[in-house]
Symmetry: C2
Amino acid sequence: MNGLMQSHPLLISNLLVHAERHHGEQQIVSRRVEGDLHRTTYKELASRARKVAKALAALGVKPGQTVGTLAWNGYRHMELYYGVSGSGAVLHTLNPRLHPDQVVYIADHAEDQVLCFDATFLPLVEAVAARLKTVKHFVLMTDRAHMPASTKVPNLLCYEELLEAQDDKYDWPQFDENAASSLCYTSGTTGNPKGVLYSHRSTVLHAFAGALPDTLNVSARDVVLPVVPMFHVNAWGLVYVACMVGTKLVFPGAALDGKSLYELFEGEGVTMSAGVPTVWQGLLAYTEANNLKFSTMNRTVVGGSACPPAMMQAFQQKYGVNVLHAWGMTEMSPLGTVCTLKPKHLKMGPQEQMAVQAKQGRAVFGVDMKIVDAEGKELPMDGKASGELLVKGPWIVSQYFKGEGGNPLVDGWFPTGDVSTIDPDGYMQITDRSKDVIKSGGEWIGSIDIENIAMAHPAVAMAACIAAFHPKWDERPLLVVVKKPGAEVTRDELLKFFEGKIAKWWTPDDVVFADAIPLGATGKMQKNKLRETYKDHKLPTA
Amino acid sequence: MNGLMQSHPLLISNLLVHAERHHGEQQIVSRRVEGDLHRTTYKELASRARKVAKALAALGVKPGQTVGTLAWNGYRHMELYYGVSGSGAVLHTLNPRLHPDQVVYIADHAEDQVLCFDATFLPLVEAVAARLKTVKHFVLMTDRAHMPASTKVPNLLCYEELLEAQDDKYDWPQFDENAASSLCYTSGTTGNPKGVLYSHRSTVLHAFAGALPDTLNVSARDVVLPVVPMFHVNAWGLVYVACMVGTKLVFPGAALDGKSLYELFEGEGVTMSAGVPTVWQGLLAYTEANNLKFSTMNRTVVGGSACPPAMMQAFQQKYGVNVLHAWGMTEMSPLGTVCTLKPKHLKMGPQEQMAVQAKQGRAVFGVDMKIVDAEGKELPMDGKASGELLVKGPWIVSQYFKGEGGNPLVDGWFPTGDVSTIDPDGYMQITDRSKDVIKSGGEWIGSIDIENIAMAHPAVAMAACIAAFHPKWDERPLLVVVKKPGAEVTRDELLKFFEGKIAKWWTPDDVVFADAIPLGATGKMQKNKLRETYKDHKLPTA
């Protein structure tokens, strides 16, 4: 017997319709590539998103076909988010930080029919346009005045002109909520990038879970600035959450330096932000150098990689900005856990509380997780046992686009490639990527703990711990360190710094100093490259 | 093209599994009918809900069949919520305040196979048991020690014994999320009550929307005491929201007097509550008489009927407890709107802010609403135009159980029977029930405004404004007033009290004093009875 409730599919266009009807005057502020600060409202955004849908249809885009974007966080990109997916086409956000060869591979693999891009990326598009097999139209996301006088891109179209040619009379189509809505490729540190194809259902459910008080806690009284790019797992869902709750949005565009961000935080009264640790490093360096405070920001979500405890401390103790550690993956839409405290933690001292906050957090409702040993047997949630982390839920991948890589699931669970513990309160802590874990004499050493300790040393700007060959133990930890400009520290001083902070056998066998640590397109350290660089490094303990 | 996300149905059992795995130690405190305060955890609750599922199967209950409850808010009732729906059966919460004839009608209409009830309701069950056509088993929700020595109920079973006979090894079945989960009958002031049949999908989506920061804003750091009964539209969804976010729950059982509630609020550190205005009246009378404050409660949700502004003021200004006005219906699961403020309201003075808070609030995401004129044409959201309120969304009724009353929808929208305005910020304000509106010379007079003004008079305990016959205007407002014990006020003093507070032609033509105003089973004033009582009342203006 079925219930007798109304049947409405969960569609991305519903989010926009809700924002337009119930939060029509709420503001969306964007720093544009053109240089100025642009202001619009949800009402205007909804009207323009309908024009986008009509303009794409006029270009011949059919439901289920793919539209690519190479764009910063801004209102035009948001119009495409809703206009493309809302019309039944699939939004494919490309990461412009990828190597041009990868951009070509991904756009071809996704069969993008149209490519919309910010002026910043005109040189990139000029470099790859001739090699793209499926793109029929190139659209520069600007007005006529900012179009280039000449370009190597064939038949370059102007975004604002395409919109001007349409009126906004358009009814969002109703279709199966399982229809594909958007496509995002994994960064692919090994092998070709793989596509994750989200659905309308997964996106709306993820937005519900993302807005919850213990997740990102977004309300109509917030002012949200997503630093996390809209080309990186849909800005962690914030662009959808925003419409669901009618929050004011502030988009930083291309200006992600500390000064530009700070000015936007203060000028627009931002209360909440989200991004990867590297962005916050730039912002904190700027506020520290200029002795500035945040007057409205009260929390920030840090994910993408583990937040160094020193950064967390600076935010919380010096600036009064609460740091929420979050964890997820492209394959998870991305939200999996957020480290919101429980009542008992609120009674703890700052040190103890920080130890909880250093964990990646609790599963948001909808995501289930477990850790398993090498045989796939579930390990206890005791905060001690560490094993490979598996997840399942309605916004987690079942297979990659076009079946690449075969069936990724194990008994219905998705193996994350992370190694973690889960404590009895449900807090998960990543100890390593399974491929980065250091296997010393049959025991596992997690590299993240070691890096966090090194990062707490005042002379260290960045640290990576990797496995180095050892004739007796197979692998032993080697610490690669980038010093802060002008700072000095020796190998022995650093090794001494570990004393009492970690088990003796986890202490690195050696330290090497480097000018830089290679970062991938999403800001993560590329340890595979480091392992390659130091594959012949001879440990003094060997 | 479909997305490639995992396929998981939205099931009520998922909520319990999440709470057990990630909030296993969180507490559930219940004041029992047996008299004591009982403590359990989500882990224990989940284990016992699995036993409930097995016990019901052992009694012969099949998926899709209905299990009735007559019970207060408590952990055993919560076990039934999850055990019945989770196993695929349908939970039918009966309102014990209904007339026994209606209880019989509803239980028969729902075809309840089993009836579970608290000891309080043994006399009621004894009175109706012989007349119930479909109930095969009667279960008293207590342990062996509290079972009656003799009873007129045939083969009375003991709840705790049924559970003891089972172990907790049970996998929640997976099935279509559109399956029926629970059944609640409207109060049926006219005609027979009609059943609203919720689904697993509607219930889980409603829980997501209910937990959002701008709705009930429930987190793992809250302590929630639902005063609103679990026999009244699933305690407004709080029992589901609680599992979703892992909040501590406090159940008041049968003790809804001011003293008992206050002791529970203070003793358990309650931060949030929800209920109808009449309950709060009792609580506030107690705190005022004893000069008490709330030390942990920071907000309460008031719905069911409009919150008198005087009560709102008392809560907020005297006790520092924020009042969230909410509106919904049995047909809406029930949440439709909640009056959470927008940033611009926070800058207003208390008077202006109160005017916003007096409205029923903004639509929660998932619910769309519009007001229409007599011809069904949509009226503007300008805060002035008032018309019949229509709603749609995935947790709103499409038809009543067994098709009673035919198709209730108009072009896919459900007519609420309320008359309201919607302002440009999306705030809806109910001006009347469409059947209670007073039609004076072709114009509509809303009775709620008039009642709110009367309620602000210090001598008035309760006020109802109804239409009385007028030879020239057809209808004119008549105010029926119940005075506070010991207070005095005359007809003319009351009429004078309206001066300057309302349009002159909205002022009642007469006042009559009554000992009581009849209330329905859900605490709402029964104006149809009042209209009957005063149908021959001769207005002095006639």
